[in-house]
């Protein structure tokens, strides 16, 4: 068949599955699967945002989980202080993530390569320690959110199906945005910087400024995921910012296929389902997951999307 590659077909199948999932859940009465997939969709959103800077921009951020925490804490802290409206909570979450990304990005982008990986990691760890020190907001133990964000009747976040569709809409919206960004002049410049920064600079593009804007956009998107995640768990704790969570996000992006539009979604679905599946088989699931990651790195070039693409070409 021409024009319909294997990877496109699989992607379409996956997306259709995500849209129809609540139907299956209500027909089969399996509520757990809806809860599981709400989490998957939210983390897919976070992975997609990471993919924008990592896959398209070539900026290897190892501290992306910080935004999950910042978005989450914005919701949690406001709720704690009696501000329950989502119309305030969500913009604050996005703004806080954007400001953090601006500061961290401006500092981290002075470096490149492995320095950049380590610096973003260290700053995220700093955010983790700061959150652990917030005695008023639970400190180490985290903060329980007693009431989900209130969108004054427009959408009810406590309704499982509505919340799931809200998360899915956010995911699709973000992917649409990434698609527009990547194909815009701005996106082409950022991708050009990934391939050859010196050359782009020689042509006359202010490299760092472009990268910083991209970094901030990505951080803001991930902040949205953080706000959703906090609503999903009714809880936020420093643990969402722990560096292994940043590693998880990176794995999702690589596993799915870096620099592809739907790769991170695929990666999140496969990674989290695998985790769920393995943890049912054995309590020591990481014993299998760890070496599996090693094998994926060694043999699975280009992630799932890469493998599917090669299969399509036969």
């Amino acid at each position: 068949m021409k024009g319909l590659s294997v990877s496109k077909a699989v992607t379409a199948l996956m997306l259709a599955g995500l849209v129809l999932l609540p139907l299956y859940s209500s027909l089969s009465g399996n509520i757990f699967i809806l809860t599981l997939f709400t989490r998957i969709v939210i983390l897919a959103l976070a992975a997609a945002s990471l993919n924008l800077i990592m896959g398209f921009g070539g900026m290897m951020s190892f501290g992306h989980a910080a935004y999950l925490g910042i978005g989450g804490y914005a919701v949690g802290m406001l709720a704690q202080e009696g501000v329950g409206s989502g119309f305030i909570q969500f913009p604050v979450a996005l703004a806080a993530s954007a400001i953090y990304a601006l500061v961290i990005g401006a500092l981290s982008l002075r470096t490149r390569g492995v320095y950049f990986i380590m610096i973003t990691l260290a700053f995220a760890q700093m955010a983790y320690y700061v959150a652990s020190g917030l005695a008023r907001y639970g400190g180490d133990d985290g903060l329980t959110i007693y009431k989900r964000s209130d969108f004054s009747g427009l959408i009810d976040l406590s309704n499982r199906t509505q919340f799931y569709y809200l998360c899915l809409a956010c995911l699709f919206g973000v992917i649409f945005l990434i698609w527009r960004i990547v194909n815009s002049r701005f996106g082409l410049v950022v991708q050009g910087l990934r391939s050859n920064e010196q050359r782009m600079q020689a042509i006359g593009f202010p490299a760092k400024r472009y990268q910083l804007v991209c970094f901030v956009i990505s951080g803001t998107m991930c902040g949205l995921a953080g706000a959703l995640l906090a609503n999903n768990t009714d809880f936020v704790s420093p643990a969402v910012m722990y560096w292994t969570r940043s590693g998880d996000l990176m794995v999702m992006v690589i596993l799915g296929g870096m620099g592809t539009l739907f790769g991170p979604v695929m990666g999140a679905v496969v990674y989290l389902l695998l985790e769920e599946f393995l943890s049912h088989i054995t309590e020591y699931w990481a014993l299998i997951m760890g070496p599996l990651l090693l094998l994926i790195v060694l043999f699975g070039r280009g992630g799932i999307m890469g493998v599917l693409g090669r299969a399509g070409r036969g």
């Binding site: 990592m54 290897m60 190892f62 500092l107 981290s108 002075r110 470096t111 390569g113 492995v114 320095y115 990986i117 380590m118 610096i119 990691l121 260290a122 700053f123 760890q125 700093m126 320690y129 700061v130 652990s132 020190g133 917030l134 005695a135 008023r136 560096w243 292994t244 590693g247 990176m250 794995v251 690589i254 020591y284 699931w285 990481a286 014993l287 997951m289 760890g290 070496p291 599996l292 990651l293 090693l294 994926i296 790195v297 060694l298």
Partner: protein, 305 residues
């Protein structure tokens, strides 16, 4: 006065310990161009091995020596089976693969030793306070850490700068093809360097073990400090790692000890006690940010290729 001297020595001791960890990391990065997140796992394994062997043999020193050998062997096995295949690959591949190794090691430890931590008790002769200045005593064990770490640092320096093997290591760092063409077994050299790095991490872990408990994940927080150190010191530079490690150890320890009091002078009591723990754990990251603004390549960048 007593407190200042004691905290100063604590800072030095912590800094030297961090150096042992950072030295291995920066050596492996500088020579093999490998980012090894699992370095912290080797630190953890050193501590677990020491606790186990010390319990078997009944002797702390014997257990520590055996643990040192065991981490060396573990490092070599790790290099030969897994990490060797990552040389020359993208740094991102290193991060992911060694992230997988961390998951594996943490889970393996949980399977073998269980989720609860272990304790590594000190022998009596290491617990006595030693007079260092008239009227000032300091725990013998912490003093021993300082002495051992300084000795290792000196040996490392002499080994890398003055011996034939060290010369080969430095040559391998600047041009691997050339040294291979000259008939040196570069594979063996890399394995050796990795084993050395692992043993250094293990040494840091087993020496820290009696001060803190031996537990899963103990290597992860300290690994991030080691990252900060090599970023500050300049990646690939042992001298930079040494100075940055002492610096970070001091700032972290002194900050935690004295910042709360300093803040109390400026802020109200409640605000100070809220801000102090967060601020003192932020201190070294702020330091790193300042260094990056001034010198993006670190304070003592190794010779760039």
């Amino acid at each position: 006065m007593l407190l200042v001297v004691e905290q100063f020595l604590n800072g030095l001791q912590f800094g030297l310990l961090l150096f042992l960890l950072a030295a291995g990391l920066t050596l492996v990065f500088g020579i093999m161009d490998l980012v090894n997140l699992a370095h912290g796992s080797l630190y953890m394994m050193g501590a677990y091995f020491a606790a186990t062997f010390a319990a078997w043999t009944g002797s702390f020193v014997l257990g520590a020596l055996m643990a040192l050998g065991a981490t060396l062997v573990l490092g070599i096995v790790l290099e030969v089976t897994a990490l060797r295949h990552l040389y020359g690959r993208d740094h991102l591949d290193h991060v992911l693969a060694t992230f997988g190794l961390i998951l594996f090691f943490n889970e393996a430890v949980r399977l073998i030793w269980g989720p609860a931590g272990l304790a590594l008790p000190l022998p009596a002769w290491l617990t006595v306070p030693v007079p260092i200045l008239p009227g000032i005593h300091y725990p013998a064990y912490r003093l021993a850490i300082i002495v051992v770490a300084l000795l290792v640092a000196l040996l490392l320096y002499l080994g890398v700068m003055r011996t034939r093997i060290g010369m080969l290591i430095r040559a391998g760092a600047s041009n691997r093809e050339m040294i291979g063409a000259l008939g040196i077994n570069i594979k063996l050299l890399y394995t050796l360097v990795f084993g050395l790095g692992a043993a250094l991490a293990g040494l840091a872990g087993l020496m820290q073990a009696p001060i803190l408990t031996v537990q899963i994940g103990m290597g992860e927080n300290i690994l991030i400090l080691a990252f900060v150190i090599i970023v500050i010191g300049g990646i690939g530079s042992i001298r930079g790692a040494f100075l940055a490690a002492i610096f970070v150890g001091m700032i972290d320890t002194l900050g935690r000890a004295f910042l709360p009091n300093l803040l109390r002078q400026v802020l109200s009591g409640a605000a100070a006690s809220t801000a102090a723990p967060a601020l003192s754990s932020m201190l070294i990251y702020l330091l790193m940010a300042i260094v990056l603004v001034v010198r993006p390549e670190g304070l003592f960048p190794a010779h760039r290729r």
